[in-house]
């Protein structure tokens, strides 16, 4: 899998722990959305399921809706409710 044909997926905090890792790559295909990637992750890692309703999605460091189409080379991140400060 080369970087240009893949989407980099980052998970943080509770999502990282539930997935057992903080970074992976998934192959890109036409029409792929952030929601598709989450669904696949969740089926592999059921511990992610409780986070489904509260997780925010970012693509290339910007918040986006879940149905956002992904491009090859995108950095997709799943962010549990933030708690800085």
């Amino acid at each position: 899998m080369t970087g240009s044909a893949a989407v980099t997926v980052l998970l943080f905090a509770a999502a990282r722990e539930a997935a057992g890792r903080g970074r992976l790559e998934v192959p890109h295909r036409e029409g792929l959305t952030a929601a598709d990637v989450w669904k696949n992750l969740e089926s592999e890692r059921p511990a992610l399921a409780p986070l489904a309703g509260s997780v925010s999605v970012a693509v290339n460091h910007r918040f986006v809706p879940r149905d956002t189409l992904l491009a090859a080379g995108d950095e997709l991140a799943f962010l549990p409710p933030v708690s800085g400060g």
Binding site: A13, S56, F63, R66, A77, P80, S83, G84, G85
Partner: protein, 143 residues
């Protein structure tokens, strides 16, 4: 002094305000958020912060633009710790300078509210008997 900073080193509430105000300013507000020993009836031992650093900086920029639009405050700094932070230490500093105190207070308050709403930083609370990820607003951010 950097405008925005994410660091594992202790924060300095004096340094963050140095050189921030101009001769036009009549107010500097520095807010320091510190780690307290009690939360939800638990005895807190320390906190650990994790950040999506590559995204934190652009979101800080977005917060500063919002503060500028809402309150006309242009001189704003935000410093946040990552890693372990002990009881009594600052986890976050916000400094705002403005001609008048009202807008400086509002800028600092709004900045803190936005940090807790959209800045991709998470804290894990270590308390007597366990540890837990603290979660902020459950409503996903979509824009």
């Amino acid at each position: 002094m950097e405008r925005f900073r994410i660091t594992a080193e202790p924060l300095d509430e004096h340094a963050i305000a140095e050189g921030l105000s101009t001769s036009e300013d009549g107010a500097v507000v520095v807010f320091s958020g510190i780690v307290r020993t009690r939360n939800k009836g638990r005895k807190v031992l320390h906190l650990e912060y994790e950040a999506y650093e590559a995204m934190v900086y652009p979101v800080f920029e977005r917060v500063a633009e919002d503060v500028s639009r809402r309150f006309g405050v242009e001189r704003l700094r935000i410093h946040h710790r990552i890693g372990r932070v002990d009881i009594g230490e600052s986890s976050v500093l916000v400094a705002a300078a403005s001609p008048h105190r009202g807008s400086a207070f509002e800028a600092a308050r709004h900045t803190m509210n936005e940090i807790k709403r959209i800045v991709p930083i998470w804290k894990r609370e270590f308390f007597e008997g366990g540890d837990v990820w603290v979660e902020g607003p459950k409503e996903p951010v979509t824009e």
